[in-house]
């Protein structure tokens, strides 16, 4: 009784000092009645102190008490912790956050974890009040990231160090760090935050943006450190694999995926594959490109099938341009994702069954990877299970075994199934489905098997699929594919602003303006120098014949080559490149030096020298004894052999070399400059006579040939800087350039002459009228002429489509496709060394 009055007394006192405090406490107290008297008194005491400190703090404390007590089943530990806030001024928001987080803290971290959580917060509050406030305002679940107190500790480990060394505050760090941890895992935080701390020191605004993940810098650091399979770096492998299994090239582009967009997918729009920067692992990446290529190969964008689908949906398929899928799904209203998942399951099953015909064991692999991923996923998706089940069924069907697969899926496994069948079957499945509706993006993404992706992610470029018979066999793709591409362009290019279309358009525009300006400005020039005048040959350059395959004859004096010096020079760039490739150059020089003794083999059978040539000596003695009079050439001598190789490096300097590399990291021309520089440096080491030239063209009478270094010129700074300033312009009339380069070999004394042509695309010019074959045939003839003149042309190209036309032009074994542009600088000298072997 006495005790009870004590509580009552406290309450009375409270009522006197604060009406609000009294009312709040009375609301909560009944729920805490099962705790003993001293506990209740202590709690009341703390509540009173909180109210004294600030009425808002008191309210927050009292109101949060009930929930905290319910979860923790204690009262004093957290109440005592709350007192800590009283030592700091203006800590009300922190108290509010603290009390709001308590139930979760106890629920997910446990008692010990909660203590640690509070400690970390207090230590931050002591160092930097704002940091403390942010800490307690952040939901415990976000801090822990499903890993309990370890998660919380991991999150702040990097920060401790950065706070010590660079005064980085938790308030700047926390929100970004949580996202980075969720995306990339705890190990990535340190790298990301260290960079951020540096940036923060250069400017606060920039730093804050970095930590909010708002800046480009921040995203690129993230992309650089994303764990998993880096698609950009492994581009070549993926292209090789597509080449192996599909036996032709696909168009790759970097997709616009960024880490905060959720799961990365390879997407396609009917023409191009869009590759994310990173995928979770190699297996998924490989499955993904093979699957996406399957969509392109096996008619997911077939116009006829899509027409059928749109007809059934009662919508008119747009006649031209990319088709959006959304109109198709509109009928499903808010449940659009559920239908989409079923549709994708059906269509992907159809595609994967077809991919299996090209790639042995593809379905088995998909099934294995899919099952493995399922084990890793914390929440299972029924859609994922369904998709996996269909793959299992397909594997059984392929093996000819019995299957429990829902018979509605079976028609999709037939070779003549189309996307229209997938749509119809998906509709049937949807009507009877018991699968749960999909609400958020994460669940939607999680429903896809590894390698598969939402098929409707991008608008579709439709095209007419050839008949099944032509399409399915793996062989003979090269030529028919080219035809396919042409169709496609003819159909689509005028309507949408896409690469090829724009290029052509631009070119036409350029040609048009050139035509006009020629009319305006150049006429006086042309009038003073009549083309036929023999005396004016100097300005018009050197004429060469050109081969016209249509008439099967040479057109005399058709293309005119002008020798010009290259205007631009950039020594800084040259030096930068040399510094960048210093290691590579060192390695190359070493390789050259180590090759030298074998390459420059000791000369045998000399009349004088350092060593006796044993074979020659024996032969000499023997022949003498046999009564002959042999020459006394019995010595061997190490000496640089007389140079008998000369080489001309002829670089294609058309506009296309200015393009940015698809995998990022600069432009093609940077690699070409570096390659030419390394080539020159290596040649200095090798000691063979060499020249460097570039060419470009605009119309048949305007082929420019830039001699950068002539055979007998020394390699000077001036030449270096010209190489550093190389840039692209105009088009590629290769035949004329080859003829001119061949002529330039005249007067060079060497038995073996090599013409290395560095190219990035097919021969083309503004006036070829779109007839590719014309310049191809001409180039082929130019190559033949060069061979007849004792010059061996060899083409190095970075155009991955080049094996469609180079074999015809240069012949097998006389060209090389570098499918890895970054390797060009290193490869160029290597190729030469191998060729001269």
């Amino acid at each position: 009784m006495a005790k009870k009055t004590t509580v009552q007394q406290v309450l009375l006192q409270l009522e006197e000092t604060s009406f609000v405090a009294h009312r709040e406490v009375l609301d909560v107290l009944p729920a805490l009645q099962h705790h003993d008297e001293p506990t209740q008194l202590r709690w009341l005491e703390i509540a009173r102190r909180m109210f004294n400190y600030d009425s808002e703090a008191g309210k927050a404390f009292v109101r949060g008490s009930h929930a905290a007590e319910q979860v923790s089943e204690t009262m004093l530990p957290w109440s005592e912790q709350a007192l800590t806030f009283l030592q700091w001024p203006a800590s009300v928001p922190a108290v509010v956050g603290f009390m709001a987080n308590l139930p979760r803290a106890y629920g997910t971290l446990g008692h010990a974890g909660q203590r640690r959580w509070a400690e970390i917060g207090f230590s931050w509050y002591a160092r930097h009040a704002e940091s403390g406030r942010v800490y307690f305002a952040t939901p415990v679940l976000d801090l822990a990231g499903r890993q309990g107190i370890t998660g919380v500790e991991q999150l702040f480990e990097p920060l401790e160090e950065l706070y010590e060394s660079r005064k980085l505050f938790l308030s700047s760090y926390l929100a970004g760090a949580i996202r980075v941890r969720n995306l990339l895992g705890a190990q990535a935080i340190l790298v990301w935050a260290s960079r951020g701390a540096d940036i923060m020191q250069t400017g606060r605004v920039r730093g804050e943006a970095y930590f909010r993940l708002d800046s480009e810098e921040s995203l690129s650091v993230l992309l650089d450190h994303l764990p998993g399979f880096r698609m950009g770096e492994r581009n070549r492998l993926l292209t090789l694999l597509l080449d192996i299994w599909y036996e032709h090239d696909f168009d790759f582009k970097e997709g616009n995926w960024s880490p905060d967009k959720g799961r990365p997918f390879v997407e396609t729009d009917g023409r191009t594959m869009f590759i994310p920067a990173v995928m979770s692992d190699r297996e998924e990446a490989i499955l993904a490109v093979l699957h996406a290529a399957g969509h392109l190969q096996f008619g997911s964008y077939d116009r006829r099938a899509l027409e059928t689908i749109f007809d059934t949906a009662g919508i008119k398929l747009p006649a031209t341009g990319p088709v959006s899928w959304t109109s198709l799904f509109e009928a499903y209203g808010d449940d659009i994702q559920r239908f989409q998942l079923l549709f994708d399951t059906c269509e992907d099953l159809r595609i994967d069954r077809r991919v299996q015909t090209l790639v042995p064991n593809y379905l088995t692999r998909l099934l294995a990877t899919g099952s493995e991923h399922r084990l890793r996923m914390s929440e299972m998706s029924p859609y994922y299970e369904l998709a996996l089940e269909t793959v299992r069924g397909a594997v059984a069907v392929v093996r000819g075994a019995a299957t429990t697969l829902d018979p509605r899926f079976l028609p999709l496994l037939k070779p003549d199934a189309t996307i229209a069948d997938a749509f119809r079957i998906a509709g049937d499945l949807y009507r009877g489905t018991e699968l749960p509706p999909i609400t958020d993006l994460e669940t939607f993404h999680a429903a896809y098997l590894p390698g598969r992706s939402p098929n409707a992610a991008r608008s579709a470029h439709t095209h007419l699929q050839k008949t099944q018979k032509q399409q399915s066999p793996a062989g003979a793709e090269g030529e028919s594919n080219e035809g396919d591409n042409d169709d496609e362009q003819g159909e689509d290019a005028p309507q949408d602003a896409d690469s090829e279309g724009v290029q052509r358009g631009e070119r036409e525009k350029m040609v048009a303006t050139e035509g006009n300006s020629a009319g305006a400005d150049k006429r006086p020039l042309q009038q003073t120098k009549t083309p036929d005048g023999s005396g004016e040959g100097e300005d018009k350059g050197t004429p060469y014949p050109e081969w016209d395959y249509r008439e099967a004859r040479y057109k005399r004096n058709w293309s005119w080559v002008q020798e010009k010096p290259l205007g631009e020079s950039n020594l800084n760039e040259a030096n930068r490149l040399l510094a960048q490739y210093a290691m590579a150059l060192k390695r190359l020089k070493k390789a050259i030096q180590s090759q030298k003794p074998t390459r420059l083999a000791p000369k045998v059978r000399q009349f004088d020298g350092d060593d006796i040539d044993l074979n020659a000596a024996v032969a000499y003695v023997a022949e003498r004894q046999a009564g002959m009079s042999p020459e006394a050439s019995i010595y061997r001598r190490r000496e640089v052999k007389q140079r008998d190789v000369s080489v001309c490096l002829l670089a294609d300097m058309s506009t296309s070399i200015m393009q940015h590399l698809p995998e990022g990291g600069g432009r093609l021309v940077d690699r070409i400059r570096a390659g030419v520089l390394l080539f020159a440096e290596s040649m200095e080491e090798v000691g063979d006579a060499y020249s460097i030239a570039g060419f470009c063209s605009k119309y048949r009478d305007n082929v420019s040939y830039y001699t950068i270094k002539d055979f007998d010129e020394p390699f000077t700074m001036q030449i270096k800087s010209v190489i550093g300033g190389m840039s692209g312009r105009l088009a590629t009339r290769m035949g004329a350039a080859i003829r001119h380069a061949t002529a330039r070999f005249n007067g060079v004394e060497s038995r073996r002459r090599l013409l290395l042509i560095l190219s990035d695309g097919r021969p083309e010019d503004y006036d070829d009228g779109g007839d590719r074959r014309y310049l191809h045939e001409d180039t082929r003839m130019a190559v033949k002429e060069a061979v007849a003149h004792g010059v061996h042309p060899y083409c190095i190209t970075v155009d991955t489509m080049a094996n469609q036309y180079l074999p015809q032009i240069f012949g097998h074994g006389h060209y090389m496709v570098l499918d890895h542009i970054n390797s060009l600088p290193n490869k160029l000298p290597e190729i030469y060394l191998r060729l001269r072997r």
């Binding site: 046999a626 074994g813 499918d819």
Partner: protein, 282 residues
């Protein structure tokens, strides 16, 4: 029969060996008309050039034909320091005497053998000239050092091999040399033939396994334009089959026989391994 001694230190053979009457013909699976062409050329004693990538069966074909025609086969592997005396012969000292020793070509010319100059492009051009007089109507070998000419035995036949796929464009046969030969083009055999070859070379290979090896080999050859200097050869497939036959698991066997030897490029190797795994994964 191998004696104990021959087991211990190998067996010395003279390069001139008639095919053993009781032995089995070296296995060869015709890809096209090459057997008929060879027989016709042999009948008229026309020199032959075998063109084709390494490991596609040129040497085996010749062994087979030599056996069928019952002629000894003398093989000379050419290299860049091969001189004409390495082919024709040289004087040697013996005591205070000199003796002339015939080179392999001279011996073949005298004995009426089939002389096979393997990878002739590798040899120095001056040494290839000695075969000129042998390859036209004269059929005569000139030995300058002895001031002698030898009319070839009536059964003598010269065969050279030549791999145009080599990336050394600067090395080529002189047109005047090339046009003295009848040339047979070889390529990797068709799938069916290649399967037969594997089953025959490695008895006990299941047809299904041979089919998988051939399919994988075919895919691997697609990478030739991507920096592989030499494509996966039939020989490599046979090696793989042998290793599998010896108990190695197929993926490892293909890796060591078909992937590791032909490239040092990590990415190409990875792509090749992918082919292997796709075909042999269970």
């Amino acid at each position: 029969m191998k004696t104990a001694a021959s087991r211990a230190r190998g067996v010395e053979h003279d390069i001139l060996q008639l095919p053993q009457a009781n032995s089995v013909a070296p296995y060869y699976e015709p890809q096209g008309a090459e057997v008929a062409i060879f027989e016709a050329a042999y009948r008229k004693r026309l020199p032959l050039m075998l063109k084709g990538p390494t490991g596609c069966g040129k040497t085996r074909f010749l062994e087979h034909m030599a056996y069928q025609l019952k002629r000894p086969l003398v093989t000379v592997s050419c290299h860049e320091d091969l001189t004409s005396s390495d082919l024709v012969g040289r004087f040697l000292l013996e005591g205070s005497q000199t003796v002339w020793q015939d080179g392999p070509l001279t011996r073949a010319v005298k004995a009426g053998a089939i002389c096979y100059l393997d990878e002739i492009v590798e040899a120095r051009t001056d040494s290839t000239v000695v075969i000129h007089s042998l390859t036209d109507h004269r059929r005569r070998l000139t030995i300058e050092k002895k001031a002698q000419e030898i009319d070839a035995h009536e059964d003598f036949l010269l065969v050279i091999s030549y791999n145009p796929g080599y990336q050394t464009v600067l090395k080529d046969l002189k047109p005047s040399t090339k046009q003295r030969f009848v040339a047979i083009n070889f390529d990797f055999p068709s799938e069916e033939v290649e399967r037969k070859v594997i089953v025959n070379e490695v008895p006990g290979t299941a047809p299904a396994l041979a089919a998988k090896l051939v399919a994988a080999g075919r895919k691997a050859r697609l990478l030739k334009d991507h920096g592989l200097e030499e494509a996966t050869s039939t020989r490599a497939l046979v090696y793989a089959a042998n290793l599998i036959n010896a108990g190695l698991d197929p993926i490892n066997a293909c890796q060591v026989a078909m992937v590791n030897p032909i490239t040092d490029d990590a990415e190409l190797a990875e792509a090749l391994s992918e082919i292997v795994k796709a075909h042999f994964a269970e």
